[in-house]
């Protein structure tokens, strides 16, 4: 097990290397210049040039890359061009809301999706199964931001039981934390939930036709245990794979959700950084996500 973990960690090294090169080049090759943004609308060419050289942006690309990669190896992600705060600190400040949202979304989706999918798979063809699958198609096709605003309209504006937006840290108490994070979680989690439910249903259904299910029944095992002990356990691999891929999907969803619900997380940080061409921040955030 330990050697497995070590192998995976070592395998991460080339991935990070390639990602860092790609991220670096992509940003430099895309139009826009942080110096122009900093200098403002009325700056002359000399000012812009001065700012550019103070940021090191007048150096050749290769030199810029090695300076950045060199400090990266020492654990230094650089300093934000605009706020002059180290990128690592910026990300750390914003990490809690994003991580909380990711965790609650995962828990919400898995806790509901796996049992639902299992029941649907074990009773394939029943009305319950068909109903679940119909709902799942709807859940998958509604865009996240539409669903978000609908939920806000119903629960916050009409029923007035949940806040419209914002974020309360878990250190402010469980109650405020849950009520502030409920809507973002459901919004972000629904697509994810139906994805997991569908995969669970498909792989449980496939397992129900296997020979060892027949063996279990021939032993006199109760149907409920046949499903959970034998079918679900064997169906776990595709389910876990999809949950894993889903974590990556979550990250793109988080950016939208944080904007809709005005949550000060990493997603908002990167959106703002992109708008301002704040290279070190963008690079830092992308590297962190690719490491995940």
């Amino acid at each position: 097990m330990l050697s497995f973990v070590a192998r995976r960690v070592l395998g991460l090294v080339p991935v990070i290397l390639v990602v860092s090169i790609v991220v670096f080049l992509l940003l430099r090759l895309s139009p826009g210049d942080p110096a122009i943004v900093i200098a403002g609308d009325n700056a002359d060419a000399a000012t812009i040039e001065r700012i550019r050289s103070s940021l090191g942006l007048d150096q050749p690309l290769v030199t810029q890359f090695f300076i950045w990669a060199g400090s990266l190896l020492q654990g230094d992600l650089g300093i934000s061009i605009f706020s002059n705060i180290p990128v690592a600190d910026l990300i750390l400040q914003r990490l809690e809301p994003t991580a909380s949202l990711a965790v609650t979304t995962l828990v919400f989706a898995i806790l509901i999706a796996v049992p639902l999918g299992t029941i649907a798979g074990a009773t394939a063809g029943s009305w319950l199964d068909r109903g679940l699958m119909l709902v799942s198609v709807l859940g998958f096709s509604v865009p996240v931001f539409v669903l978000g605003y609908c939920l806000i309209y119903v629960f916050s504006l009409q029923l007035r039981i949940l806040p419209v937006q914002g974020f309360a840290s878990i250190s402010d108490g469980i109650g405020p934390f849950l009520s502030s994070i409920a809507l973002p979680t459901v919004t972000l989690g629904l697509a994810y939930l139906v994805l997991i439910a569908r995969i669970t249903r498909a792989s449980v259904l496939e397992m129900m036709g296997e020979d060892f299910i027949r063996t279990a029944r021939a032993k006199g095992v109760k149907e409920r245990l046949v499903v959970t002990r034998h079918a679900l356990r064997n169906a776990a691999i595709p389910i876990l794979t999809v949950i894993g891929i889903g974590v990556a999907l979550l990250i793109s969803g988080v950016v939208v959700i944080e904007t809709v619900f005005n949550i000060p997380g990493v997603g908002r940080l990167v959106v703002d950084a992109i708008l301002k061409r704040d290279y070190p921040v963008i690079q830092g955030v992308i590297l962190m996500f690719s490491g995940v």
Partner: protein, 533 residues
């Protein structure tokens, strides 16, 4: 047979309708038979005869597509067709144990085998963990599983096929059921393993005075194990009675046909003289697999070690061996489907590359999976010739001729594989191979998946085609009876090596290698036959 007590299981007028669209009204058509304590009753029949459906309905495990069966099934005199689901569940495992055909897939791959035996105890009894463990170990000992304490924690993939079947037997018998239903339990096993498992079932049955309902398609197995036989065909019982009576004086034509279709061990080609030129010569062919990589331990498997052979035109060379013996690896190396690690394959005329493919064609084992289900059989047949530059019309014309040659309707080229039976599909596979006009045909277990009656027909077809087209044939099989029918010479493979070589008659009459002797001794039903030298 004395029958004082009521039979363990009595099936009375059981009728199970086939779900709509079948070729007949009933999967099981008003069937009656019984199994008494201490006797082994074999239900024998070809695929689709309804024998497995009968067994499943006794267990109350009919797939949901079947309507509710009519008739009565009495377990120790009690009708269980109307039993509540909970009652049936209690009966399964406790009163009736069942083992299945595929020990490879009948065990849960992610649960330790000991736990899977234990599950029967957990389901039916209230015992402490320690008591259960001890009983499981005792049960594993009883079926001769080696080192049960260690094997308890092993997972199915770490066990051989025979060991897995023993695990299933241990699970089925741990509560001492009155009846064991064995659904083709040895079909997927090698002959030497089959012999051991049959003996195991026989011994346990005598020890416990248990009734056994044994389902098989193999007349040889019936001879080995059965007290009484029930012969089924298309859902109906055509004959039943004591084993010796049914097998030696069958009263129905179907039983006679079934018995006659079992190939004898008499070498058919004793007097066949091969004079053709050497079509293929194989020198020191070896294949070694390496696994592992940068961070893993390297492991080397010698799948094939220095095999040499040669086949003349008009000759059939049989390659005999059990699973893992390297016979399929040899075939695949010869046909260049996998790259051999060393050694040489020479065809007469010495061609290679694409021309090599054309000269050497293969027929595969499983006719259900070796044809592309989304293409008509005509498309499958003409694909090769068209790759070699024939026009579509030309190739299609030839495909029709070939269909006729293999005994099918020429216009059937427009149909899809699922519209044919297994035997017909294998004929199509042969036609597909012949479309390339090869000199050499490699048949990898080409008749193993077929019923005996169909098997006999396909063997005749191969024999006939060989004579007409003067083919050299490499015939790979695990079945010595089949080999006796069609081969001139044999090579016997064991653990990647050729251990014996010679004419069929000499190998059968005077086997030199101990493994060959074991193989010959394991053939079911062999005692009834004498092999002439």
């Amino acid at each position: 047979m004395l029958m004082k007590t009521p039979p363990v299981i009595e099936v009375q007028d059981l009728a199970i309708p086939l779900p709509g669209g079948g070729d007949r009204g009933f999967a099981v058509d008003h069937v009656s038979f019984s199994v008494a304590a201490g006797e082994i009753v074999c239900v024998v029949g070809e695929s689709g005869s309804g024998k497995s459906v009968t067994a499943q309905s006794i267990m109350g495990l009919l797939p949901k597509v079947f309507p509710k069966p009519a008739g009565r099934i009495l377990f120790e005199g009690r009708d269980i067709t109307r039993a509540a689901p909970a009652e049936m569940r209690d009966l399964r495992g406790r009163g009736i144990g069942m083992i299945f055909q595929e020990p490879m897939t009948a065990l849960n791959p992610v649960q330790a085998v000991g736990k899977q035996i234990d599950e029967v105890l957990r389901t039916h009894l209230r015992l402490s963990g320690k008591d259960r463990f001890n009983r499981v170990i005792a049960a594993m000992k009883e079926v001769n599983l080696p080192d049960p304490e260690r094997m308890y924690h092993a997972f199915p993939h770490q066990l051989s096929g025979g060991q897995r079947q023993r695990v299933l037997i241990a699970a089925a018998l741990i509560l001492g059921p009155k009846l064991l239903i064995a659904d083709e339990p040895t079909t997927a096993l090698d002959v030497t393993t089959q012999a051991q498992i049959l003996k195991q079932i026989r011994d346990l049955q005598r020890e416990r005075d248990m009734g056994v309902l044994f389902i098989t398609h193999d007349i040889g197995v019936v001879r080995e194990i059965a007290d009484r036989v029930v012969v089924m065909k298309a859902g109906k019982i055509v004959e039943q009675g004591l084993t010796d009576r049914v097998l030696d004086q069958p009263t129905s034509d179907y039983t006679r046909m079934l018995i006659a279709a079992v190939p004898t061990l008499e070498p058919k080609r004793k007097d066949h003289v091969v004079t053709g030129e050497v079509a293929i010569k194989v020198d020191g062919l070896a294949k070694t697999y390496h696994s592992g990589g940068l961070f893993r331990d390297r492991r080397t498997v010698h799948a094939l070690q220095g095999a040499s052979l040669c086949v003349r035109r008009g000759e059939t060379l049989g390659i005999i061996g059990e699973s893992g013996s390297g016979k399929s690896t040899l075939a695949r190396c010869i046909t260049q489907l996998i790259e051999p690690s060393s050694g040489k394959v020479t065809l007469s005329g010495g061609r290679d590359g694409r021309a090599f493919r054309q000269r050497l064609q293969m027929v595969f084992q499983d006719p259900y999976r070796s044809l592309n289900p989304r293409r008509t059989v005509g498309q499958s047949i003409i694909e090769g010739p068209m790759n070699f530059g024939q026009s579509r019309a030309q190739a299609l014309e030839r495909a029709r001729e070939l269909m006729q040659l293999v005994g099918l309707e020429p216009h059937a080229v427009d149909r899809f594989p699922h519209q044919f039976s297994g035997g017909q599909r294998q004929r199509i596979s042969i036609a597909r191979a012949l479309a390339m006009e090869p000199d050499i045909l490699v048949a990898d277990e080409a008749v193993s998946a077929l019923d005996v009656s169909v098997q006999a027909q396909v063997l005749r077809l191969i024999d006939d085609i060989q004579k007409r087209l003067d083919l050299a044939i490499l015939f790979i099989t695990h079945d010595l009876r089949v080999a006796a029918q069609i081969c001139d010479r044999l090579i016997v493979m064991h653990r990647g090596e050729v251990v014996e070589e010679g004419t069929v008659a000499s190998v059968f009459a005077a086997p030199a290698h101990p493994y060959t002797r074991e193989l010959l001794a394991s053939i079911p039903g062999r005692a009834e036959e004498t092999v002439s030298a």
